[in-house]
């Protein structure tokens, strides 16, 4: 899984939690709240420590892992003029924004559910800087620019990159960063920006961030720092090392991705509970070609090959109904549940051109998975869905190898024949994806 995005609010909370350890000498107020409705915001304002919500002008924006909120017109910072947003304005705005689906410029769409609200920070363009870090190739790279803000991508040539090899020691890291502070940062700010950048890099490194960007970071008087916008991804494989440092951090589903079907959710839940791997994505519920493939790599080559042949045989990519895989030695009941889910989805809609449905039961040569055992679950699902599968003129193509594959293939063939299903079965002597050609050229 590796890299997972976290909310802007949680990223800022991490900064606040570790501020004194890394950024002593600088000051950060961490005035920030995460709410899901206007009502929640109004309630928050009554709590001790959050009086600023009533006292200061505010900024509100969705906090749902997508960027370019300014360009998507999803940042509330003014009603009439910048810095005049009151608590009531923010609450009203949030309730309006969460009341209807939103489509971004990128095409993603969904409902807005989480908002971050902060004080409006008056500052000048000159006080805005850019800083970020991530891993490129073998090295970490720190990016710094005197020109922060929405247009940083347009001004990328002004961004300074500092490559930091994994084994560089702290003294060299400091030297390297200090030597490369962007020349267009005003002289009076250079030293303090450099120390901030060094601390920023160590914070990024020690807390196992995969990506960390503040744009803009605003340097106010007296070393007061304002983190106006933040994007962060954590390396979640480091979770076991970071239990205390991260606390109970949330990895939300990216915006627009949360609209999983109940079937996909059910498979995801089964996957989370199992030691095996069960994955299902419905690409087109009305699609004609359904797959049940064992193994991650194999599932990709089947999808590739279906795309190749669908187009070559007069169909289109829309014929491919689903993508997914089962692997890692699922139990018979897990395989049955997976197969039933796929068969149920497959038999909901007739093909709009009246063509046969195609079910690809594919897989590479297994290392040690007992093929006959996993096929038992699929056969049980056949028994339940045989009539529906026949209604949809389903043609089944099976290809698999590995331990006990002869028995697996024989069992599934016999079961299909007994149930009156149309089936062809192949073993390792047939090329793994050749059943796709056979199915689609017919």
């Amino acid at each position: 899984m590796a890299q997972k995005a976290i909310r802007e609010y949680d990223g800022k909370a991490l900064f606040a939690k570790h501020w004194e350890n890394y950024f002593s000498g600088f000051h950060y107020g961490f005035k920030s709240v995460l709410v899901t409705s206007g009502e929640e915001l109004l309630k928050k304002a009554e709590e001790h420590g959050f009086e600023w919500l009533k006292q200061e002008p505010l900024v509100a924006k969705p906090d749902m892992l997508f960027g370019k909120r300014g360009k998507n017109n999803l940042v509330l910072f003014k009603v009439n003029k910048p810095g005049d947003v009151t608590l009531e304005d923010a609450a009203k705005w949030i309730d309006e924004k969460r009341s209807h689906p939103v489509t971004l410029l990128s095409g993603q769409s969904g409902m807005l559910t989480h908002f971050i609200v902060e004080p409006f920070t008056p500052h000048t363009q000159e006080q805005e800087y850019y800083i970020s870090a991530t891993c490129v190739g073998d090295d970490d790279v720190l990016y710094m620019s005197a020109e922060g803000g929405m247009e940083v991508e347009e001004n990328w040539d002004k961004v300074v990159e500092v490559r930091i090899p994994i084994d560089m020691d702290d003294a060299d890291i400091e030297k390297e960063i200090k030597a490369n502070v962007p020349s267009d940062i005003p002289d009076e700010n250079k030293t303090s920006f450099a120390s901030f950048a060094v601390a920023f890099f160590k914070f990024y490194r020690d807390l196992n961030f995969a990506y960390l960007e503040i744009n803009p970071i605003v340097m106010l008087d007296n070393n007061e720092m304002a983190i106006l916008d933040l994007v962060a991804r954590l390396d979640d494989t480091a979770g076991f090392l970071m239990k205390d440092a991260w606390g109970e951090i949330e990895f939300p589903t990216p915006f627009g991705m949360e609209d999983q079907s109940p079937e996909e959710k059910a498979i995801a839940e089964a996957d989370a509970k199992s030691g095996a791997s069960l994955k299902l994505t419905v690409l087109n519920p009305k699609g004609r070609i359904w797959t049940m493939v064992a193994g991650g790599g194999a599932s990709v080559v089947y999808a590739d090959t279906i795309a190749d042949f669908a187009e070559a045989t007069g169909g289109s990519i829309a014929d491919l109904a689903n993508y997914g895989e089962y692997s890692g030695g699922p139990t018979t009941s897990e395989t049955r549940f997976y197969a039933e889910t796929v068969l149920d989805l497959m038999t909901r809609y007739k093909d709009d051109k009246g063509r046969d449905k195609i079910l690809i039961i594919g897989g590479a040569i297994a290392n040690f998975t007992d093929v006959a055992k996993t096929f038992t679950g699929i056969i049980q699902a056949f028994e339940k869905y045989a009539d529906k599968m026949k209604e949809h003129n389903t043609r089944i193509y099976v290809r698999r190898g590995g331990p006990n594959y002869e028995k697996g293939l024989k069992d599934i063939k016999e079961a299909a024949d007994r149930l009156g299903l149309n089936i062809e079965v192949y073993g390792p002597e047939t090329h793994i994806t050749d059943i796709v050609r056979m199915a689609l050229e017919k």
Binding site: P165, I166, D235, A238, A307, I365, N367
Partner: protein, 605 residues
């Protein structure tokens, strides 16, 4: 870098007692007729076993088990491959420790989901140490006909069908472990199998990437052409393109990147490994396939056409004479049914023409003309070693010295009483033997243990005495009923003189004598007695023979020293028992007047 990743002599240290995977390696070894097992040792920190049994064909062999990598490596310096099967939590530590120990040429790491920063640190350290890392998140690698890592290749049936049991002419590199077998099968069906294959691993950061493996295969004379199966995401394929363009790689390469489907879906759907997503246009499968084709790499039109391309390149190379015929080697067959043995014997064998003691036929040690004594037999059957003359003579001296100490000692007395009760020789003998323990005869073990402890910890004699006082134990091996420095025990004198003359050195005895000076200054009869002398000289003997301190401690712990007493004293006990039988002595009853009777009536409570 060596031109071949593995040979038929390559041996590995397997970190984690993964019995199934190790058995699969040994089955493979047996099938391809390797002379040595490919797993030299197992490291299992929490195991208390010294070895693990595995099948070798129908037979069984023992693979030694160690608690840590350092001990395993020290005992098996030639094992230069580390198979790191630790979990994602500990795989990093295991790798770093092994790098610090040194002497490993290849390390394979199987864990998936090692924190990226740790993976990068580990990979960087390995690269600096010139160690080839395979993985993390991989099923490993294989050099057909030579060495196979753990589970790669699947079952033996599949291995033979996919021609993974002998050297072919293709070098195979894949990212996916699941498709590795499939590719091996395709290459067996459409060409002549592979010469070396590596699944580099699915994590974002892996040790050896495509180019590292292909550059080695370029130098491997068995490899005539290469097959590369890449994946959407990353830029590793471009390094291969550069090497082809610059002429670093001259052998033909057939390549394909899976994940061409991704072009149809703008975002959202994750195809394949979590790390396998394209961050830029050049990282898509379509772009990489196109770029590789333009660089002169053989790239089929689709994955489904890959077999055809492989066959075309193979046929071309065959026609050009680059690839010759491959002789199919004879192989062993793994028996369908095999049974684990319940007993293990490592000291003698009665299956051949003549029974042997540790490999020596009995006739070669039994008769006087062989020049061998009972000491030689003890060294063979107890220690599985041929000891030098001086130590064999010492053992014999000890046995003779402890054989008997008169009828009054408790063991002999028990044996005599039992014999007089009409019991058989063996029954009377065991009552005598059962008396041997911490108070009777056990001073040999105790002396060896405490004197060695004091010596190892550099205690002065005074410190040793106060240490023993604190423990509340009289010093074992010190003290005699009547003997003193002025009236020495002749048996002790004999042992000491023998040792002084024939032992290479006697550090522990020398130390014990300084202790004796102190104890005898307190009380005349606190001399080093015969038990103490034997125990201490045994330690000196083993040290001189080159045993490690751990091994000597183990001898002491397992009661080896007492065994010399048991063996010797058995001679005396049997003498007393036979004596009783010949004398036809009646049943013994102890006289009343020798017992203090002090019995009061029990109170009710």
């Amino acid at each position: 870098m060596m031109e071949r990743l593995f040979t038929r002599d390559t041996q590995a240290i397997f970190w984690n007692n993964n019995k199934k995977a190790i058995q699969r390696m040994l089955d493979y070894d047996y099938v391809i007729k390797r002379e040595t097992p490919s797993v030299a040792a197992i490291v299992a920190p929490t195991s208390s076993n010294k070895f693990e049994k595995f099948f070798w064909g129908a037979d069984e062999i023992m693979v030694p088990v160690y608690k840590n990598t350092a001990d395993a490596k020290a005992a098996h310096p030639n094992a230069d491959v580390l198979l790191n099967f630790a979990s994602f939590r500990t795989a990093y530590d295991v790798t770093m420790e092994a790098l610090a120990i040194g002497g490993f040429r290849v390390m394979m790491i199987t864990a998936e989901g090692i924190p990226e920063r740790l993976a990068r640190t580990m990979i960087n350290a390995a690269r600096k140490a010139n160690v080839t890392v395979i993985g993390p998140a991989t099923v490993g690698a294989i050099a057909p006909g030579a060495f196979k890592i753990a589970n790669i290749g699947g079952t033996i049936d599949n291995i033979i069908k996919s021609k993974l049991h002998r050297t072919g002419s293709c070098g195979l590199v894949t990212r996916s472990g699941g498709l590795f077998n499939e590719l091996s099968n395709i290459i067996a069906l459409n060409a002549d199998g592979i010469a070396e294959g590596v699944a580099i691993g699915g994590d974002r950061f892996v040790g050896s990437v495509f180019i590292d493996n292909l550059l080695r295969m370029e130098k491997n004379p068995d490899v005539k052409y290469m097959v590369l199966l890449g994946e959407v995401g990353g830029r590793e394929e471009y390094k291969v393109i550069e090497a082809v363009k610059s002429g670093q790689i001259k052998k033909p390469i057939i390549a394909w990147c899976i994940g061409t489907i991704a072009k149809h879906f703008s975002s959202g759907v994750q195809f394949g490994h979590a790390g396998a997503s394209a961050n830029a246009d050049e990282e898509t499968a379509v772009a990489k396939n196109k770029a590789m084709k333009e660089a002169g790499i053989y790239v089929p039109d689709s994955f489904n056409d890959l077999p055809k391309t492989i066959n075309e390149v193979y046929t071309k190379l065959k026609n050009e004479g680059v690839i010759g015929e491959i002789a199919e080697p004879e192989i062993n067959t793994i028996p369908k049914i095999r049974r684990a043995k319940n007993f293990v014997c490592t000291i003698s064998d009665d299956r051949g023409e003549e029974a042997t003691y540790a490999g020596f036929p009995i006739s070669s040690v039994a008769t006087p003309d062989t020049g061998k004594t009972i000491g030689d037999v003890v060294s063979l059957l107890w220690f599985k070693k041929v000891y030098p003359r001086w130590s064999v003579d010492f053992i014999e001296t000890v046995i003779k010295t402890v054989a008997d100490h008169g009828p009054a000692v408790s063991g002999a007395h028990n044996a005599k009483v039992t014999a007089r009760a009409g019991k058989s020789v063996v029954e009377a003998l065991v009552t005598g033997l059962l008396t041997i323990g911490p108070r009777f005869g056990g001073a040999i073990d105790g002396a060896a243990k405490y004197f060695k402890y004091a010596y190892d910890n550099n205690m002065t004699p005074a410190e040793f005495l106060s240490y023993m006082k604190k423990q509340g134990i009289p010093i074992p091996g010190i003290g005699h009923r009547i003997k003193s420095l002025k009236n020495p025990d002749k048996r002790v004198e004999g042992l000491k003189n023998f040792a002084k003359e024939y032992f290479p050195s006697t550090p522990l005895l020398d130390y014990a004598l300084t202790v004796e000076q102190l104890t005898t200054s307190k009380k005349e009869n606190l001399i080093l007695n015969v038990d103490g002398t034997i125990g201490i000289l045994m330690v000196d003997m083993w040290r001189a023979l080159g045993y490690s301190e751990e091994q000597i401690d183990e001898f002491i712990e397992s009661g080896t020293l007492n065994s010399f007493f048991i063996l010797g004293r058995t001679i005396g006990f049997i003498g007393h028992i036979l004596d009783e039988k010949r004398l036809a002595m009646p049943m013994y009853r102890h006289p009343f007047d020798d017992i203090l009777y002090d019995v009061s009536k029990a109170e009710e409570i």
